[in-house]
Symmetry: C2
Subunit: 340 residues, 2 copies
Amino acid sequence: MPKTRLDLARIRAARQVIDPVFLDTPLYRCEALEPDLGCAVSVKLETANPVRSFKGRGTELVASGLAENGSRAVVCASAGNLGQALAWSGRGRGLYVTVVASRFAPAAKLDRIRALGAELELVDGDFDMARERAAAIAERDGVRLVEDSLDVETCEGAATIGLELVDAGPFDAVLIALGGGAMATGVGHVLKARAPGVEVICVQPGGAPAMTLSWRRRQVVTTDSTDTIADGVAGRRPIPAVLDDLLLVADDAVLVRDASIIAGMRLLFDHAGLVVEPSAALGVAAILEDPDRFAGRHVVTIVCGGNVDVDAYHRWIGATPLPPIREVDHGPESHGRVSP
Amino acid sequence: MPKTRLDLARIRAARQVIDPVFLDTPLYRCEALEPDLGCAVSVKLETANPVRSFKGRGTELVASGLAENGSRAVVCASAGNLGQALAWSGRGRGLYVTVVASRFAPAAKLDRIRALGAELELVDGDFDMARERAAAIAERDGVRLVEDSLDVETCEGAATIGLELVDAGPFDAVLIALGGGAMATGVGHVLKARAPGVEVICVQPGGAPAMTLSWRRRQVVTTDSTDTIADGVAGRRPIPAVLDDLLLVADDAVLVRDASIIAGMRLLFDHAGLVVEPSAALGVAAILEDPDRFAGRHVVTIVCGGNVDVDAYHRWIGATPLPPIREVDHGPESHGRVSP
């Protein structure tokens, strides 16, 4: 049992608290991907829920805890998905939710945060600047600050994915998008505790490598900037406590190029019919960049989010603008004839 | 309890036979669709499984029955999805599967049928010609012919969707794609038995209206041809026994235009991140064409398949704007699209 901050009994109990709409997500072999990837691939699909990402698993724990304690408000910084999920979970429990995000976050994510009734504050900087601002708001207003990956509920919520994987296994390896580390430490904790033979591989964009570099050097490495389309995992300042946990549960952390992420998004669209955001294609990107490593093995990739700006997505998957659709007009009663 | 050929106890028992990968599919409110549709919309998502459609529910019943009886082979006609599903279910049980399809079926569906190890025979005609050819093969080889919608396993397999809807309800209406009628009679049977207050609305393309016209006239109506992009539901010759069942469980059957199906596919892509085949957008198309009917109600649409040819799909959802829905006008009272 890895000695992280996470607790398997609490993770099991979390399944009773999290709205079932976020649990027991599809997990299935996706053979149509396999000729291109050279290994057996199963998809764990976290996009078919009201917020289109896995983050609801964690925010359900946060919001239910706050509601039990009589709290009325909560604030978080978000790259876009946590904010949507906290807005959803908080709305259902009468919480006043404030989300701080970068104004460079995908408009689709920001629009959904507003639509879910949260107050959205934008900062003129990146996710780590949003973190600072959210902390200042929490301090000023005396409300709970939800810190993704640092707050153990966010990790233990994500860890329920691990329970579902273990129940459905065996697999040889699980590919997990790595950003702040909530999903990687959460899923990794459960796998190491319950299925230690499964290789836990974290995948991060080369343009936002801080946590991967930290994991490799076993100490926090920060970067000055990020440069990747994978907005959901683009942090610069790893949290020391999260790194400590990640060191206990990850077997590897790899970096991939944005070109591979785009290729992965395209494969998932073309052959699996899945619309995924860049962070959710990191696993497929890792296979594309190192097929020998995975050849002949059975690999799970967690498709962790599907919130994309449609225009950017069209560019990534190569849809070209086309002439207007021809008018198709059938009278509703056309063609009918009574059989003799 | 409607007196169809279906049996609720058998449908409940079917859940023990069907591979869990096809069961308990996502069901969730999709609020991002609602400003365009003017009602509360929940999606029942049948695309996140190894064959990307609901058809596996039925073929699991067929194949397990055949395997129990020691059968070694099976043949079916398919518009594309049944063939994939039967190939998948048969492969897992050592059955030799032959699928007869129209050579005009989407290449993506045909490729997957082959990839799943089935023998694929193409006819130079439509689905109803494939049905004749499949029957001839079954006769010649003395093997079981699986007839979609006629064979009660195909209906009762689809009916397990209804059990999942009833468990998650209440809803005001359920929109079901109508082709041969397996899904409509299956889901309709369960709803009428267990949740009779839910309106069961079948939706068919105006270019392939045979079953809808038959339902309205209470006798089989055939058509000479079909003309729709919704290949999955494009039949010309309703099966009398299926029509009899449909008359007992459907509250309405409506026809929609292909332009509305395309608009529905785009909405599902843009606002729900879902890749759906035309048949799976029929429900959304029905809301777009008659928003007043659904205004303020909670509607479930079963997203029944996601097997699309990528090139055609790009054309359908391409970067051109949504067609003006106001032009989709079925009568002088039509109020067109609901304003967000």
